[in-house]
Assembly symmetry: C2
Homo-oligomer: 249 residues x 2
């Protein structure tokens, strides 16, 4: 078994209204590759957000009193804090200058995914797509239309983790595959039942793609070939642990 | 840029005293590949533990009163609970039948990595390697001796995470590369300074390898080709967040 990851490089700067599927399809052709059944396309959140116009000039943000207070105390721009609060349905931790939230999408992450880098002018915030699964479904349909093949699409973002240093890429939007791969009920090569094991397949695909989608180059998408997955409807919500099953919420 | 992951399949059952480097080198030759400079070899923890004799027959374990109490209350074999406690320097959470600990190695994970599956007899527990970095260094030296090339070695294990469902493979032992890739001080394609970003490269490599090292086949090692990394001494300890920097400890 062999897996290949192709960096889809050299895409132009994405602006609101751009057709991400068309740009990715073009990038794949320029690689000299073509989409094949079984391939997976991973797209970084930033270009999806830009194409969907999820950009807010900081100058337009009026911070609340709470955002001013926390921002001033923590050395963060209060307008960024304001956006983080607006993107959140609940604060998980607010400590040492860091805000860990539960976003409206159900993701638990730092700063609700609000990001300031890589946007012309530097004073524009990028927000997460409103519904990353829907974004993935739209891009999947667009790739189907332009390349004639239906492949799963994963939208990835870079998250920190408790207990471990460094960021890893995870799946925040999914279309066309089951993001979890279950070994429950399976047996190992000796015939012993495997302990209940459910693998976060889509997160591992996102992490693998993160290895080639360097922040230093324009590589906002990755073609992944050779992974065994279960096709189907599936949603990034399958990767979100329910609060009642979570000991760190 | 292209990354390739080759499953090193068909290794024999590993028993204490086995030379993992020799088995992996043989597996790579049988793939029709040879180790090249820049390659990374990922090896799953289970075979490393077996080769190092980190196996305990449960019949030999005398559980403490506390282990009997928790095991009985949570439906876990008290002898397994006893081993989890022995492998731990601190309990992070003990709730809903789950024990999250800080192991003697400094890893935060469920059940201290104690595992019952895949061992002949079924009543034998596998423990994590005593020093996974040292295990990685030994295998790296062995591969150098047998294949003539010095490549980084990562020992991976399958961990759960707070907030997200499913397990992912992470790096618990590292030799020959810096496990973190830093973008601090870098600039994006528009020339803006990147926000402080440190990527957990070794964890992403472990996760990528997890995509091909299925538990259902004998694929305990993966050859990874094409990743940009910084060679050097490096330790899985670089991936462990210091308790004072951790909001979920």
């Amino acid at each position: 078994m062999k897996v290949e990851l192709f960096a889809i490089e050299g895409l132009p700067d994405v602006v609101p209204g751009d057709d991400i599927a068309a740009l990715v399809a073009l990038g794949i052709r320029r690689l000299g590759e073509r989409l094949e059944p079984g391939d997976i396309v991973v797209i970084t959140q930033k270009i999806v957000s830009k194409a969907e116009g999820r950009l807010i000039p900081l100058a337009e943000v009026e911070p609340s009193a709470f955002a001013v207070q926390w921002g001033t105390a923590s050395g963060t721009d209060p307008r960024v804090v304001e956006l983080v609060l607006r993107e959140s349905r609940r604060i998980v931790r607010m400590d040492r200058g860091v805000i860990i939230v539960e976003t409206h999408q159900g993701l638990v992450c730092a700063n609700a995914g609000v990001d300031l880098s890589n946007v012309a002018g530097g004073e524009v915030a990028t927000l997460l797509p409103v519904d990353p699964d829907a974004s993935a479904r739209r891009i999947r349909a667009g790739l189907h239309a332009s390349a004639g093949v239906e492949v799963p699409v994963i939208i990835s973002d870079t998250f920190g983790r408790p207990w471990r240093e460094g960021l890893v890429n995870v799946a925040i939007g999914v279309a066309g595959l089951s993001p979890l791969r279950s070994y429950v009920g399976s047996r190992d090569p000796q015939g012993f039942p495997l302990q209940a094991t459910i693998e976060a397949l889509a997160d591992e695909v996102g992490a693998a793609a993160g290895l080639v989608s360097s922040k230093l180059n324009r590589t906002p998408a990755v073609l992944v070939r050779g992974i065994l997955y279960e096709a189907g409807d599936g949603s990034a919500r399958d990767l979100m642990r329910a609060p009642e099953r979570d000991m760190f919420r």
